[in-house]
Amino acid sequence: MENIYLPKLAVIKEIIQETPDTKTVRLTVDGASIDYLPGQFGEFSCIGEGESTFGFASSSLRKEFFEFSFRTSGRATSGINSLNVGDSIGFRGPYGNFFDTGKMKGKDIIFIGGGIGMAPVKSILEYCLDERNDYGKITVLYGAKTVMDLMYKNAIEEWKAFANTDVVITVDPGGETPDWKGRVGFVPTILEELPVKGDNAVAVVCGPPIMIKFVLKSLEKMGFNKEDIITTLENRMKCGIGKCGRCNIGSVYVCKEGPVFTAKEIESMPNDF
């Protein structure tokens, strides 16, 4: 009889300290990655401390590992934070829907991430970069509160190395340091200053709910169709499989019908996220 709450044990291959309170963990099951797609999520746990929900942060085309990023905040993440390379992490998943990369092929794409919401954006971004020739111009806009809060510093350098790829990094006003060379301003403000148009283009967005709400408005102003604005919503979840009853927005269960939605789909949801 299948126990749908039983985790597999995934082994920690590498830990990247992104910022003082965030880490990215690279995992393998039986020495390799698992089958998943960008946009999907899993339930990751430190056995004995608890389980938390995280989206995948890696490109699923890279077969040697899969990764997620977390901020140490509560009991479960403190537990995960205490683990070392070689230790095991409980994993259930992958769950949920995923980005429709077929719909994105041949188009310009702008990837917009805020804070730790950059994690699922990184997954689909690196997936597209892995098949760079399938897509048009790629723009990345990533914002964090302060310079210290910027994650993925090594990955950002890798993104910049791709042809026809612009990477714009911004920090909130007041979050800059004297030697900061990137942009200063909130993500929606910087977004509207970018030379990006909605024609034959797709926008991928994830970040705090308040950022998503404003970014969706900006993108529409810039001429993006609501069907071409894709976001991923990360509501609080426990089971990840439609039973524990807390991730719904109106009638939509984020864990099953999401977490990936278009702005058009979000428009029909009540303001409950």
């Binding site: 039983l6 056995i47 479960a76 705090p208 524990c244 009853g245 719904n248 009638s251 009540p270």
Partner: protein, 369 residues
């Protein structure tokens, strides 16, 4: 199966129940405990309190225990061992469920595999909750913790004669005489009871021994007393109609200003099934458990960032109404409510779900005029 009808005398129903106990089944019935009535294990028919309208709690915890082990773990160094209870359990699934507040005897955890768990004297509302919850636990991913218990639960209901002011089962699309979710429905009358056997499981109980079979006298369907003409005081579809259109209505914020967010409505609800998952133990051994949770608690939807989609108690009670009378219905074409009224009876602020659903229904009616 085709329904079968019987008559059984008061003496024989007592014999039947005592036979079920003697056959080593776990028989659970409404039972007095310090002045309140709970579903609890009985060893004799006389332990059952069949006169009260509704027990304090439903028998939800026999399907979804307040705390349930999802797996056990042991850790030594970097070695982690996980013990799956479903692999080790045959028959009843979780074996440490004891009635009401965990006051159970050790004998319950050593229950034999073949033992049936029989609820005797369920009310139709409580019986209706099982198949309603079953849908959630089986859309897409199958929850075998629930399924094992559900499969082994046999329900003998006794129809109500007179609902009280908090009851609204008829409005919730059941009725005081509904057999939805029951294996056998009893109605008082004749020399004791009339029995309608609805399922194979019900028939299995009657035919569990030749002695039991002899206690029931088969009667033609026409002899079984017809249901009274229960009339709904309001149309629950209109309640749903209001909820469809009025997410931002000020009604929710005003109506639930008095709500203290204690969650007793969800705790006593036969169909509320939301749960939390937690790890409990040391860093050497322990278990992952699920516990009853409540949409009435602020932490239920609180994000790590501090953002909370449902800030006020009005937001949270609105979710409860939406889930019960709109969201669940859109997915499963039933309401996530059996109209038992326990949420209202137990509410310290006298927030009355019958009154609320009725008001919403009326508001929808007048909006349509």
């Amino acid at each position: 199966m085709e329904e079968k009808y019987y008559e059984i005398s008061s003496d024989n129903i007592e014999k039947f129940v005592n036979n079920l106990v003697a056959q080593n089944n776990e028989v659970i019935a409404p039972k007095d405990k310090d002045g309140d009535t709970f579903y609890d294990k009985i060893n004799d028919f006389k332990d059952a309190d069949l006169n009260i309208l509704l027990s304090k709690l439903s028998f939800k915890e026999y399907l979804l225990p307040k705390t349930e082990t999802l797996f056990e773990y042991s850790i030594s160094g970097s070695n982690i061992n996980i013990l799956d209870p479903l692999e080790n359990t045959v028959g009843n699934g979780e074996t440490d469920v004891s009635a009401n507040g965990g006051i159970g005897s050790g004998s319950e955890s050593s229950r034999k595999k073949s033992v049936k768990r029989i609820i005797f004297g369920s009310r139709p509302c409580d019986a209706g909750a099982g198949p309603i919850m079953e849908k959630v636990f089986n859309w897409d991913y199958k929850d075998e913790f629930f399924n094992e218990k559900f499969k082994n639960l046999y329900i003998i209901s006794i129809a109500c004669v007179q609902p009280d002011n908090y009851c609204f089962c008829t409005e919730a699309q059941l009725s005081p005489e509904s057999s939805y979710g029951s294996d056998i429905l009893l109605k008082k009358g004749g020399s004791g009871y009339y029995a309608k056997v609805i399922t194979e499981k019900g028939l299995e109980l009657i035919n569990s021994s030749s002695e039991n079979a002899g206690l029931f006298k088969e009667i033609p369907k026409e002899t079984f007393p017809a249901d009274k003409d229960w009339k709904a005081a309001f149309d629950i579809k209109k309640t749903q109609g209001f909820l469809d259109k009025n997410f931002t209505s000020g009604y929710f914020q005003e109506k639930f200003l008095s709500c203290i967010g204690c969650g007793i409505c969800t705790y006593t609800c036969p169909t509320c099934h939301c749960f939390d998952i937690q790890d409990e133990g040391t860093n050497e051994k322990g278990k992952r458990i699920r516990n009853w949770d409540s949409c009435q608690f602020g932490i239920f939807t609180l994000h790590t960032s501090g953002h909370n989609p449902r800030v006020t108690q009005g937001d949270r009670y609105r979710q409860r109404l939406m889930h019960k009378f709109k969201i669940y219905n859109e997915k499963f074409n039933k309401y996530l409510c059996v109209g038992c009224g326990r949420c209202s009876r137990n509410c310290p602020e006298d927030i009355d779900l019958k009154e609320i659903t009725s008001e919403l229904s009326l508001m929808e009616s007048s909006a349509g005029d």
